[in-house]
């Protein structure tokens, strides 16, 4: 492949790719995102490959493994172009029928379609599925259309057009102006205006400037950056190159989390392909501008996602944050001006350049423009990745897109912002979701994790969970964070294990305040949020644990009692078999004898819940 040395050549190459592609030609796309991977998409791809090899050699029917479509709950997902028929939960043995009926005969296989949970209606295309209907997928949309390992696919959907526009018809200041006008705010956590950051970095005096893409997505329960890097790596890359030109940087880094092997692989391929085409490296598209990117791998430390800690890690030091008396845009990596944004932020840049700040500004709310990708997970029917305009209410996201709570249970709270965020209770379900509103109610946007909780989630346990996470991940530099998180964890453990007093609550609030005030970086600064927000909105639940020694959600082990209902027990003996501590005794029924109800010895019981789970007659009660 020859290097492209002008925007005209890029245009010509794009036309060439498009001329070889017939949009009316059947194409089978299989989602290859990690979610579908876990549900077995590999075998589905192999099955389609086999069918195509046997029956469709040389007739131009394509097979494409794409990035994540978002609807992970229903994976493996298959979409048949050009009619865009969506099949869900596809198994390898479905491949021959899909090929024969849908690809060749144009018929839709009803049994593989998504069924509307309320009406039972079968839905044939992605756009009509309720999960997708309210979304606005300007960043995530192309994931389902392109093979992330083929730069041609990205070019075919208009990729690198924004880069050509930026390099040849805009001055760096104009680009920064456009990003400022679009009011693009950092999607990684704090929501700092990206344009302002770029401008400060551009104005910082230095011969060398660095640009960093933060793909160290550490928030548990959030995986949008992973999906973008895996499914559409060029979109972030293009954003970075545009940013580098605007700032005047020639060297960049992508810092990828160690737990994301596929993302690492795909971004590596993308960088290589972009270099070969002359879109990265020296003299990009013949403009004279040069910029290249190195990949840096994380080591599995949550705190390394903090900007100064991340830069320390790239330098080969341990990932400890430092005080930001001087901002990283002035003195960051190797003490040079450094501009850092996360994957999703970079992926927004080409959209802003292509469509313009005015267009972009029409999406979203006053203070938060554009869309935001959330990972909607936990106790919700349609788990997956959703991209919605800023300002959509929690209710719309959880119920209209997420399809509500499984098993008819009651909604309790949404946790946003990862370990730095907080829990938003049912009474605030109509809250419009944007940066400022989430902060107002004691939570934060974070990178976009949205964990839905129902009545069977214990809020004290959730607070304890986050504190356990934070005490492990605190780097230990500041005493307030190192000790504060540990002591808060111990207090919460006391409460969940039946040793809590009302003084524990006061102590928690005091400690939370000190930890937040006295710690250097955002990890410590926001560490008390999960505790304080749950105390604020779920105080009664804490009291129930403390005063009545009960866990209303039946989660906290030490406060539970398992009991067999003798009138329901059929004496099948199943519970006694699965009990690892032999705490369940009784007389098992045989063909001849009736048997006697089983009983649990509360002294021996370790409350693992195996008996409860194994009982088919709902004869075991939890108190």
């Amino acid at each position: 492949m020859a290097r492209l040395s002008s925007p005209q050549e890029l245009g010509k190459y794009r036309d060439e790719i498009l001329s070889k592609r017939n949009p009316d030609q059947p194409l089978i796309t299989v989602c290859g995102g990690t979610g579908c991977h876990a549900s077995g998409c590999h075998a589905v791809v192999d099955a389609f490959r086999k069918v195509l090899q046997e029956k469709a050699k040389g007739n131009g029917i394509g097979l494409r493994v794409t990035g994540c479509h978002g609807f992970c709950e229903r994976g493996p997902l298959v979409v048949i172009h050009p009619k865009m028929v969506l099949y869900q939960k596809v198994k390898p043995e479905d491949a021959p029928a899909i090929f024969q009926e849908t690809v060749l005969n144009g018929k839709v296989l009803e049994n593989l379609l998504y069924e509307h949970p309320a009406t039972g209606e079968k839905i044939a295309t992605e756009e009509k599925v309720p999960f997708y209907q309210k979304q606005r997928r300007i960043i995530l949309g192309n994931n389902g259309n392109i093979d992330p390992t083929q730069i041609e696919d990205y070019l075919a959907v208009g990729g690198y057009r924004a880069l050509a526009k930026a390099l040849f018809s805009m001055k760096p200041e104009e680009i920064i102006g456009e990003v400022k006008k679009a009011n693009l705010r950092g999607r990684g956590g704090g929501g700092f205006p990206a344009g302002l950051k770029w401008e400060q970095c551009r104005n910082a005096p230095s011969d060398i400037k660095y640009l960093v893409c933060n793909a160290d997505e550490g928030d548990p329960g959030a995986y949008m950056d992973r999906s973008l890097l895996e499914g559409n790596p060029h979109s972030a890359l293009e954003g970075m190159i545009i940013g580098a030109y605007a700032i005047g940087s020639h060297e960049g880094y992508i810092f990828v989390r160690h737990e994301y092997p596929l993302a690492l692989e795909n971004i590596g391929i993308a960088i290589q392909q972009a270099r070969e085409l002359g879109l990265l490296g020296r003299d990009i598209l013949g403009s004279g501008f040069h910029f290249d990117i190195k990949i840096s791998r994380g080591g599995g430390a949550f705190v390394a996602g903090e900007s100064t800690a991340l830069m320390a890690t790239i330098e080969g030091n341990v990932g400890e944050p430092r005080a930001k008396h001087i901002h990283t845009v002035v003195s960051g990596l190797h003490d040079k001006p450094t501009n850092l944004n996360n994957v999703e932020t970079w992926a927004n840049v080409p959209v802003i350049i292509n469509e313009g700040a005015d267009w972009y500004g029409r999406i979203g709310t006053e203070g938060s423009k554009g869309t935001k990708i959330f990972s909607l997970v936990g106790k919700v029917n349609n788990t997956g990745l959703v991209e919605v305009p800023m300002g959509m209410s929690l209710r719309e996201i959880v119920y209209d897109i997420g399809g509500g709570i499984p098993g008819g249970k009651r909604f309790k709270a949404v946790q946003t912002g990862g370990p730095s965020g907080g829990c938003i209770p049912e009474s605030m379900i109509d809250l419009p979701v944007d940066f400022d509103r989430l902060t107002e109610v004691g939570s934060m946007m974070g990178s976009g994790g949205m964990i839905v909780m129902d009545e069977s989630t214990c809020m004290v346990d959730v607070a304890k969970y986050f504190m356990n996470f934070l005490k492990d991940e605190s780097c230990g530099k500041c005493t307030s964070c190192r000790e504060g998180t540990k002591r808060m964890y111990e207090l919460l453990a006391d409460i969940t294990e039946g040793r809590g007093t009302m003084d524990h609550l006061c102590l928690l609030e005091d400690l939370g305040w000190v930890t937040a005030e006295a710690s250097l970086c955002a990890l410590g600064g926001t560490a008390p949020n999960p505790v304080l927000s749950t105390i604020r909105y779920f105080r009664d639940e804490y009291k129930e644990h403390i005063i009545n020694k009960q866990c209303p959600a039946k989660v906290c082990r030490q406060l539970l009692q398992y009991r067999i209902l003798s009138d329901v027990c059929t004496s099948c003996g199943r519970c006694s078999k699965v009990c690892s501590v032999k705490a369940i005794t009784g007389k098992q029924k045989t063909k001849k004898e009736k048997g006697e109800p089983f009983e649990i010895d509360a002294e021996k019981c370790i409350r693992c819940g195996m008996c409860f789970e194994s009982c088919k007659f709902e004869a075991i009660e939890v108190q």
Partner: protein, 163 residues
Amino acid sequence: MTHSEIEAITERYENRESAILSMLQDIQAKEKYLPQEALERLGEKLGIPMNKIYRIATFYRAFSLTPKGQHEVCVCIGTACHVRGAQRVVDQINLELGIRPGETTKDRNFTLETVNCLGVCAAGPVAAIDGQYFGKMSPAKVGGTLKKFRSDKKKKEGANGKA
């Protein structure tokens, strides 16, 4: 690891001290842990003291200073998995194998680890064994899932028992 293998790794990164994290990752990937001799050689090659290498090796979760078992059982305890009962899955594995997170069975067959998020939240609770994902886990599924990775002797016993 031999001298030449360490050298190949350091040269991959042009002997840059700043690339030490990547070098350690390459050693970890090959040996499944960081052997002391390998770290000593790395220190000599780069001209940096052992305490600096240890500081990095013990700071990041990705590294282990002790050998790991043949099969690595990694349970995701991210928030989404947690609210769906991941801790109970960990507890059950603990009961079955007698090891806590970070520990290895005596026969060196299993190492149990927990991870803060694998990014496969939709299938939670998730466990990954040697990189293979097992979605929608529950305590009841633990025994059957582990059986596939038991050492041959135990597997045979299991099969006989079933027959």
